[in-house]
Structures are given as C-alpha cells and as structure tokens.
C-alpha cells in the first residue's frame, strides 16, 4: 500500500529530525504557511534514493529536503 500522497513533503533523515521539525512547525504562528507532510526516510541513503520518486509522485507540488551536512 502506498503511503499518503500529500502535495507538499519534507524529507528528513531520521525519526529525531522528524520530531524536531514537527514540533517547530506546529508551534509556528504562521497561518499562511501551507501544510506539509514530514517523511522520515530512515537514513541518508534512503533519502537520496527517494528524491526522484518523491518529486515525480502524482499531484506533488513541492519537495523539501533536510539533510545533515556532516551525516554519513
């Protein structure tokens, strides 16, 4: 079963990144900020391989990437 198909997604490396970003996002007082889905990719390798298909997903408007510059 394919996962949810939100038009805007942010790809992050791991579960810690996801929690941090979600916390920050949910405490922003910016009503105009569009909703987006945060996707924990379980490592930089998976994140990189997901970039192509995430961009090509049907109805996709935006893909953001949060990666640690010093990560493996």
């Amino acid at each position: 079963m394919a996962g949810s198909n939100h038009p805007r997604v942010l790809l992050v490396e791991g579960v810690d990144d996801k929690h941090v970003v979600r916390h920050v996002r949910d405490h922003q007082d910016q009503p105009d900020m569009p909703a987006f889905d945060i996707r924990d990719k379980d490592g930089i390798t998976n994140l990189i391989s997901a970039i192509g298909p995430e961009i090509k997903a049907p109805g996709r408007l935006a893909v953001g990437i949060l990666a640690d510059a010093t990560g493996a």
Partner: protein, 381 residues
Amino acid sequence: MSDQHDDLHLPDLSIAGFRGIERLSIERLGRVTLLTGRNGVGKTTVLDAVRVHAARGRPMVLHELLERREELVAALDEDHDRFFVPDYTALFHGRSATPGAPIRIGPRSGGADLEIATVPPGDLSPEQRELFAEHWTEADVQAVRIAYRGRQHLLTSFPAMNDTRSANWSRRRYWRDLRRGWSDDSEWPVVECESLGPGLLSNSRLARFWDNVALTEEEDLSIRALQLIGDDVERVAVVGDDERRHPGEGRRVLVKLKDHSRPVPLKSLGDGVTRVFAAGLALANSRDGFLVIDEAENGIHHALQPDFWNMVLRAAHENNIQVLATTHSWDCAAGFARAAVQVSGVAGVLIRLEKDGEQVRAVEYSEEELQAAAEQHIEVR
C-alpha cells in the same frame, strides 16, 4: 541476459490526434512497460495505439477496437436489414475527423509513422466512387486514408444513415473490403499483437492459443504460468469440438491436478488461475511481436505479483516480445518494480500518464526510482 533498447519494436512512442489523446510523447518504452494513471487519462488508448501501429492500420483491427467500444453506426444492407459498421470518426481526437488533422502513431524519431486521415471525397478511387455514385452524393461519403512508409490505402466510411439510400450498401462487399487491400502487402508487414482485456479470455480464444503452442517449447511457458499459483498442476489439455449445440458445449481447457484422478475444468479453479494461464499462453503466442494487457492486476493475488512480472519479463526477453500493460493497483506496480530489479538486463519501465491541462504527459520511472518507490511506499499511480 541483456536487452538492447534499439531492438524493441517501439523504443519510444509518439501519438497525435488519436481518441482522447491530442498529443503524447513517451521518451522511452521498455521491454515491458507498465502504464499507470487515473481513469480516463488514456492508458488503454495507448495500448490501442500500439495495436493500430503494429497492424499498420489494417481495417480489421480498427473494426475490432471500435466494435469493442460500441462505436458503430447503423446501415442498411441490400436486403434492407440493419447492420452495423464502424464509425471511424470516433478514432479521431474530439471526434473531429477533418482533413488536415490526422492521427499519427509511431516512434518519436519519425520515419515509421502510421497516419490515418480523412480525405475529401474527390480523393476516392474510381472504384470506390462507383460504390456510392448512384445513390449517395459526395457529401454523404467520407474517405479515410491510411498511410505508412510512403504507401497509402483508402477506406470508405460514411455517416449514420437509416434511409433507403443505404440499401445499396452490400454487407458482403463491406466485409470483403475489410479483409482485402493490404493484407498480403509485403511492403506493409504487420507486427503481431496479441491482447488481453480486463476480463477472462473466452474458451475459444484460449483453445486457439493452445492449438498454436501444443507440444512445443512454448507450451511449457503456459504450464509454468499455472504453477506460479500452485505446484499441483501436472498437465493441461483442450477438449471438445467447435460446435456449440447446447450451453456449456464447445472446446474448453482441462487441468490434471496431483492427487486427483480426474481432470477438472481450468475455469473451475478460479478467475485468477485462468487469468495467469491466459497470460502465459498469450506470451507463448507473441514471439517477435507485441502483447498488450489491460488491467494486468486482475485476479492475481498481491503476493504473486512479483513472480508474475518476473515470468513476464523473462518470457518477453527470451521470445523477443514487447509488452505494454496497464494497472490501477499499488500491489501490481510494486510487484513489477521488484521483478524489474530482480531480472537484470531486461528493461522494465513504469510510466504514469497524467493530465497537464488539456494535454496528457508521461512521467517515466527508472528501475532505481521504481525500486525506491516500492520499498518506501511512494505513490507512482
């Protein structure tokens, strides 16, 4: 094993003016191509376009496509009985069969385009004019020109008419026109194209497929297909004769199962078993040609999808078949992705068709992208 992309019958595809597709360009087709996309976006139209191109526009194939979609108009034959003939205008985008807006199907590089166009009645051959001249005015007559590699043939078509002028239309002549022409024209060699629709194959078609491969190496392919579902299938036979005096008569496929003394009808084993067997048989019948499969997921359990596509990819490679299929199913797409990665050297390509305003565009996935999408459950349909 390794495929050369240039060896494919159609390494890429361009379609213009055909049914719901005003213009579509697919940059790369695979040895096996799986098409996804929403309802009505044009997946089946792409399969139809490939069939028409493979047949070089032969009228029997156009007739079959139009008949399947009930795109027929009533005419009267020489005995004033109604019969139905294809409405060729339904082949054209927006049903706008105007000269200067032809259908074009072929590789993107051009040079092997099939062109179907309406032409003014004045372009009819003297023989074709003679068919109509006594009873119809030129305004009633529509001609369709089919051109391929610099050669052309004309078909006559006509709008719906239920008045007595149609009575001059000979049913016999109609069917003769349908079959004649370039059927034996060596300059227009067809590429054979078998098709599997969303439903089950009729017993007669299963039997015809079986007759073509019985006692050959290809027969094994259909047996192996059955054994994907269960290894208790030992043998297959087709029994009965062509006459159907009563319901249930006619030729049918029987299967011998392990631990069963008597054979059982194939169709008694369920739609999925029949569907997989039909796919194996269709592959066995498609050497050096095309096979198109509409709604490939039908009847096949999700756990079997990778094995099914593994079989299709290997058979397509070994028998020089180019396969195009459609699906709406995630399990089918994910199974295809896993098989495409497993069977190295055989190009498995997934393409999603999607609307872009009034146009249709193709989004192609490489095998690496497919694998990542399948593993990470990223939507591809």
